[in-house]
Symmetry: C2
Subunit: 632 residues, 2 copies
């Protein structure tokens, strides 16, 4: 049942490619015993024409900056993508049949385990926003004529993030972006909201500013014409809105509900019905352009801002100033912000380097996605209030699956913002970011430390998060002090510390005040500035456990998953497991001044003093560091 | 500078009300020294007309089911809302001036600390989706003619969640919903994407299916006519798109950038410019209707599903079956799902009780918001894949600020889903949900336990999260076993247990297998099923710490913020702090079978055995429960 043909150049041969993509999608998923063949079959004609005629890609050189980009926003159609790779000669038929098996690069949903996959998809509604990021990079950063092709499902058009993407793409005039909308009418459990009402989508997209073309997604000539029109459209992105049939080509599943995410029961019969098993190889056109990508001029060496000890400055201000300095020294740094750049201080960079600043307005999902899209060749720093990163949590989770390297800054963390109240307070961000694979979580307490950490962030892989504070805080470090990721600073230490206070960010200053008060009482307290919450400086904490009776951890955060639990995890399986008194925010705050908030939450100097005294008073009676003796 | 007027009935007197709302917004924020007066001033005319003529509300009886609902999606305009309450006689002038002070109900952004506020806002883009939930409740559940009025900003129209809301409202024909769009052109740091292009918004909204009216938002007659048209529009929601001026009425700030979120510098001059300080009281019309809200008939007693010990069933299936049973016994239970009801098994309820099932399609933010909107009088259960609740994390965080009582179910948790790969695996949900104020986190291991917990969820306040598993798991409990929130089950216990294994959900079965293997080696292991991750059964864990050498915690989750750290927090400041070996997922998974995934992650029976052996071997040498003796 195999046929050999030469590289197809006609519509007829493209139909054959499409059938092969269907057959291979069925073969891969049936061999795996799972997957989404019917979701692949609806888009096979669209992707066959794309691969055969419009896609410019050098499969031998996936890092070629001139390559087009293809993102399957409907990541569950992965067998179609892998069938395309097979057709392009990038993977063997043998590898195709490893789909969904342990150790295979061909995962259930695409990931960058494959060199031709830019970003992971599978959480619907993310591929298009990420594609907007790639297209933005093409227009504004690389300034190269590569195109971005995004295949979307129709169910995912209910995700608001898609409409953030549609709006931004039009606003930025991304005519290098084509969205191919596979309107196959059926979602996972039944019909979508709008079924085959292509006019609905076209009207909405035109209202947003897109060029919209409605076609029969199984008519090769219409597809060809639509892609030609898309590539010729100037000044606006194009959506090819294709009416398709889910499971197209196999009558037992075509346009039928109940077959989402299931391998076909009789693959051989389905392949026969599709006309057998072609064996076509497509010679994909390589990009013609060889101009070098845009490089932004830089001035070395890096001149980080310097703050004088004893003065005060907000760490968010230091973030902005350090970022601007970093951008002067590094041409790869680009900055995004969610319409709060005058609060996060990303606006300092924006004013100095408008070419490399991209305003994302209040669309945190699109902002996170754009950062993921840009990080393939650039170093994005994105900022908003720390609380509002929770809006993009699924995107951050998926960025880790994409093995993305992005730097995120969250300002206005914790109750210490004061009067604005709980809606603006991040109190769960440390927990949320710690629980992201590949993450780094930094929380500086002074401006010099912040500046140094901003420099470090740029060279750190993974999801790198910096938490900044609204209020001005005392400068306690020298501008020349160095701060490594994974480090900490012992700010107070004597030969005979009774307790260790572990703090970060705003609470470091409370801890220092507390230590002064305790010293007056004759209680020596070691103070550790744990600015690197993840990775954590286990060695310094272990040393403190050996030397002191117990720990007070103090964080402007809910008690779960933050600083306190990070410290506890260090000692979980250690010989020496110190007593840890966890001070954290426990009641829902309202409005109040920053000082009132810290006091009400029980995370101010007075609360630390009280907790430390309890630990120290405890000590003489039964040596609190010698705990855990089994009763009896 | 005060004037007295009677209840106004004319446009002229409504203008006076509007000026009073401006003046009071200025007074409140200037007294506080912070707040967003200019954002209040743009919408003052709109809200004056609403309050004087269209709003039906009994301020003395905020729980009256016939009351209209007013939601400030632009929550930062809170001084305007409070000024309205003052004008309506609901709060005193004295209380108005407590704005943003510690202990005041008048927080920086509105919260239900005030009885007339349904839900907290302040994270932009949430008020409208929540309003859709309230309007859905009005149409489909209460079946009462109350109206929902939502005041939105223009910056927040960039949030995708707003477009989820617009789409759902049109799809559900919510003609009881009016969105008042305050298009004042200026965001926090500059102009919005579309400035005063009202046509842009009108075109987009009409494309989605809304009735859209463009007006001058400072022309009282136009506002009056638009609201009249909104209330008369049948079959579709109405958007009143109002061109307004930020800071309207005070020349030094009107339509000027740089005055967002700042109290006016010279409040007295501004009040003079506005014509002085009126003292108008508005008699707000009470709702005329007194029909009882819809009640759904029920059949008592509750007949939860029963599963036979020794058989297998998926906990997600038990969730669906128990939910359907609960819905039969309780008329207040309503169910929402994000287009995956055939996977979460919410479809069992949907088929039996279509009147109380609302399909939310793939729009998790709108789903969470709808649950928040409905929970004022109903008991919503909402479900999707656990991984995709991360999409709505900001909404869940804000639901806690709203003091909302909602039940959320996340299915397909962890690596044990198998072949679909990491995009579909929730591996951070325990951390994320634990770090939500007021949250309960449940993770059952068998179907009978799941059914009992579903029953308990309905009576639990706060954000109640249930994590379910894709795979069928052995039934190990009797159908009559009871499971309290905050409890646990000791599944294996001898007089001389060497180690305690703490597991939940899928890992309970691995723990039991491990205990069998260990028993063959002569190592007795206590096994605790910690199905209630938050609140946690400290007493049982403390008892285990007294009796055994150490703990192995095992979770299908990243190491941060989940089961292991929850256990560590129990012992943080206890006398007895056992050694805890934390088994969790540490490497990014790919595709593989469920069993392969558990093994690769090091959270299967073999891994538990190995960890337990290490603890037990360790024991005789130096009594691992007698840890922490200080060196020297």
């Amino acid at each position: 049942m195999t046929m050999q043909t030469s590289t197809p150049t006609s519509h007829e041969s493209w139909r054959l490619i499409a059938q092969q993509l269907r057959v291979d999608s069925i073969r891969a998923s049936s061999t795996a015993g799972s997957g989404h063949p019917t979701s692949a079959m609806s888009a096979a004609d669209l992707m066959a024409v794309l691969l055969a005629k419009y896609f410019r890609y050098d499969f031998a050189a996936p890092k070629n900056p001139h390559n087009d980009h293809l993102i399957f926003s409907k990541g569950h159609a992965s067998p179609l993508l892998y069938a395309m790779y097979r057709a392009a000669g990038a993977i063997s038929d043998e590898e195709l049949l490893t789909y969904r098996k342990r150790g295979s690069r061909l995962e259930g949903h695409p990931t960058p385990a494959l060199p031709w996959v830019d970003v992971a998809t599978g959480s619907l509604g993310q591929g298009l926003p990420i594609g907007v990021g790639v297209a933005l990079a093409g227009k504004r950063l690389d300034r190269l004529p590569y195109r971005v092709w995004v295949l979307t499902g129709d169910s995912e058009l209910a995700e608001g993030s898609m409409w953030e993407a549609f709006e931004h793409a039009a606003f930025e005039h991304l005519d290098n972006l084509t969205a191919v909308l596979d309107i196959n009418r059926l979602g996972q459990r039944g019909e979508t909201m709008h079924g085959w009402d292509l006019d609905y989508f076209a009207t909405r997209l035109r209202a947003v500013g897109w060029h919209a073309i409605e076609i029969d997604g199984h008519d090769i000539a219409q597809i060809d014409a639509a892609f030609a029109e898309a590539t010729a459209t100037v000044g606006q992105p194009t959506a090819v809105i294709a009416r398709t049939i889910k499971g197209m080509g196999v009558a037992s599943v075509a346009d039928k509900n109940g077959f989402h995410g299931k391998a076909l029961e009789d693959a051989d019969a389905a392949i026969r019905e599709l006309g057998g098993r072609p064996n076509v190889t497509v010679t994909v056109s390589k990009p013609a352009d060889d101009r070098p990508p845009q490089h932004f001029s830089v001035q070395q060496p890096l001149g980080l801002p310097r703050y004088q000890r004893g003065t005060k400055e907000a760490t968010r201000k230091a973030y902005g100033e350090a970022l601007a300095a970093l951008g002067t020294a590094r041409g790869d740094v680009v900055v995004l912000d969610g319409e709060v750049s005058n609060s996060t201080y990303a606006d300092i960079f924006a004013k100095q380097k408008p070419d490399r600043y991209i305003e994302m307005y209040i669309a945190e999902q699109q902002m996170a996605a754009a950062a993921v899209g840009m990080q393939v060749r650039w170093k994005p720093f994105a900022s908003t209030f720390a609380a509002f990163w929770s809006r993009a949590y699924d995107f951050i989770r998926m960025a880790a699956v994409s093995r993305a390297n992005i730097c995120l800054c969250g300002s206005h963390a914790g109750v210490s913002i004061g009067e604005d109240g709980p809606s603006q307070m991040a109190l769960e961000d440390l927990a949320a970011f710690r629980a992201v694979w590949s993450s780094t979580v930094l929380y500086p307490c002074d401006a010099n430390q912040t500046a140094k950490l901003v420099e470090r962030m740029a060279d750190r892989d993974g999801i790198v998060y910096l938490r900044t504070t609204r209020e001005k805080t005392p400068i306690i470090y020298d501008p020349d002090d160095e701060f490594l990721i994974g480090g900490s600073r012992v700010l107070r230490q004597s030969g005979a510390d009774a307790v260790t206070i572990v703090a970060a960010g705003i609470t470091v200053h409370e801890a220092l005040t507390a230590a002064d008060t305790l010293a007056h009482d004759g209680i020596a307290a070691r103070v550790v500035d744990l600015y690197s919450v993840k990775p954590i400086d286990s060695a310094t904490l272990r040393a403190a456990a050996r030397d002191t009776a117990g720990f007070v951890t103090v964080e402007d955060h809910w008690p779960e998953g933050g600083l306190g639990e990070a410290v506890l995890s260090v000692f979980a399986n250690e010989e020496l497991r110190p007593r840890v008194v966890k001070l954290a925010v426990r009641a829902m705050p309202g409005s109040a001044t920053p000082a009132e908030q810290l006091a009400a939450a029980g995370i101010d100097a007075a609360a630390i003093v009280e907790a430390a005294r309890a630990l120290a008073v405890h000590a003489p009676k039964e040596a609190p560091w010698s705990i855990g003796n089994r009763p009896g």
